[in-house]
């Protein structure tokens, strides 16, 4: 049977293979996605982000179990960093989700960032489309552990869940720009630990300073390890979905995200064309050495490359 039919019928192997093809920039996979694109749009995409070790995977596991009680089909894309040196990676998010492996209506895929820096991998967009076509009602994208500025998730997800933990820093951290600005729902995980209330107050105080709109991100204390507060958290995520759908903002967000994805793809292809044409590795090496020995300066070297591209 053709891979297209198999995937529409919910065949996990076909789904897995198509994601691999996307990850490896296989052109046939792109053709398949072009053809099946009309089958996307049913899945609701929730991005889960937060610092390393905050409990994103464990929380994803528990939220998925909660959605399974509602008989929803769930896809999970879990991203971990790729080594900038060897290109290898340890993808360890599945460890927290092992008892979901055998659920026929759950599909988990681990991905390495493969050079991308925004907390996701470039293939995440494609993988989400595949899972959507595969028939998932909800898709969780779990980012790599993020620091302060990896905000790419907001360009992909309908709802962004920020997973915080108590005692990571003081209230100055809460008012900084970057990842604290992109959350639609905050959860404070490991809230059985001391300091959870203080962290909650700090986030709430920061939210008080936002321009007050018709939606204010809720801050939910949970403990994924102890399975506490998960039902409330899911409720808040679904409330955000409801808000977006009621106000037609979901369409706005998806259009914005589609534009960003489009731009990113064009940029990638352009870079490839340009680099292939003009910037050969030996040229780069040469100019690098010349800059070090002060034979030239970085700005003139740049002009030299641009002149080559213009030719």
């Amino acid at each position: 049977m053709d891979i297209r039919e198999r995937i529409l019928k919910g065949d996990k192997r076909a789904c897995a293979r198509l994601i691999t093809m996307i990850e490896n920039n296989n052109e046939e996979a792109i053709d398949i996605l072009k053809e099946l694109y009309k089958n996307t749009g049913n899945a609701y995409v929730v991005g889960i982000t937060g610092p390393p070790g905050a409990g994103k995977s464990t929380l994803t596991d528990k939220l998925t179990k909660e959605l399974r009680k509602l008989n929803k089909k769930v896809g999970i894309v879990a991203i971990d960093p790729t080594s900038p040196f060897s290109g290898g990676a340890i993808l360890g998010d599945r460890i927290r989700m092992n008892d979901l492996s055998l659920d026929k209506d759950v599909f988990i895929r681990s991905m390495g960032t493969r050079g991308s820096l925004g907390g996701m991998s470039n293939s995440t967009w494609g993988a989400v489309k595949v899972l959507d076509i595969f028939g998932c009602d909800y898709i969780f994208i779990e980012t790599v552990g993020v620091g302060q500025s990896e905000v790419d998730i907001v360009k992909t997800a309908d709802t962004v869940l920020m997973v915080m933990v108590p005692n990571l820093g003081d209230d100055i951290q809460a008012i900084k720009a970057g990842i604290m600005e992109i959350a639609d729902v905050f959860s404070i995980n490991k809230s059985d630990l001391d300091g959870a209330d203080k962290t909650k107050v700090e986030i709430e105080m920061n939210l008080d300073l936002n321009e007050q709109k018709d939606y204010r991100p809720p801050v939910v204390k949970v403990s994924a390890g102890q399975n506490k507060g998960i039902d409330t958290l899911l409720e808040k995520i679904l409330e955000h979905r409801d808000y977006l759908e009621r106000t037609d903002k979901l369409k706005e967000i998806r259009t914005r995200n589609n534009k960003l994805e489009l731009l990113k793809m064009v940029e990638e292809d352009l870079m490839k064309i340009i680099l292939d044409k003009a910037v050969k590795e030996d040229l780069l090496e040469n100019l690098g050495k010349k800059i070090t020995s002060k034979e030239t300066d970085p700005y003139s070297a740049k002009d030299e490359i641009i002149a080559l591209i213009r030719k």
């Binding site: 192997r13 897995a16 340890i90 599945r94 092992n98 390495g112």
Partner: protein, 131 residues
């Protein structure tokens, strides 16, 4: 770097010793592979389900409990039942020499015992992929 080899590293069965599995996972990572580490106490069914969803090129299993003669072939057979025939399966751990021929015959393509240089494992996987 375009197409890294994907390997599932798993600990089937009940022993709780994963130091060896972690050392191997780290060596495969350093060789440029993507290692999906699933951790301790996996059933053969879970390992096969994970291998399918992750679409891995190889599965590496580590056992120190003595249950290898039961668990390794079980994984091989479950994969066959699902029609998966393009995944390389290797095993390792404290495995008596006498058991190795049986395991190889069952479809485990290599068995690595204590003292194996990690480079041997990397080389074997790299050179014996089925796709």
């Amino acid at each position: 770097m375009d197409k890294p080899i994907r390997v599932l590293v798993a600990k089937p069965g009940l022993d709780g010793h994963d130091r060896g599995a972690k050392v191997i996972a780290r060596a495969l990572r350093d060789a440029g592979m993507e290692v999906i580490y699933t951790g301790l106490r996996q059933t053969p069914e879970q390992i096969v389900a994970a291998a399918i969803q992750e679409d891995v090129d190889a599965i590496g299993m580590s056992i120190l409990s003595g249950a290898h003669n039961h668990l390794f072939p079980k994984v091989v057979n479950l994969l066959k039942e699902q029609g998966v025939d393009d995944v390389l399966i290797v095993g390792g751990g404290v495995i008596p020499e006498d058991d190795i021929p049986f395991l190889i015959e069952s479809g485990v393509e290599a068995v690595f015992t204590p003292g194996t240089p990690t480079k041997d494992v990397v080389d074997f996987i790299t050179n014996n992929l089925k796709r």
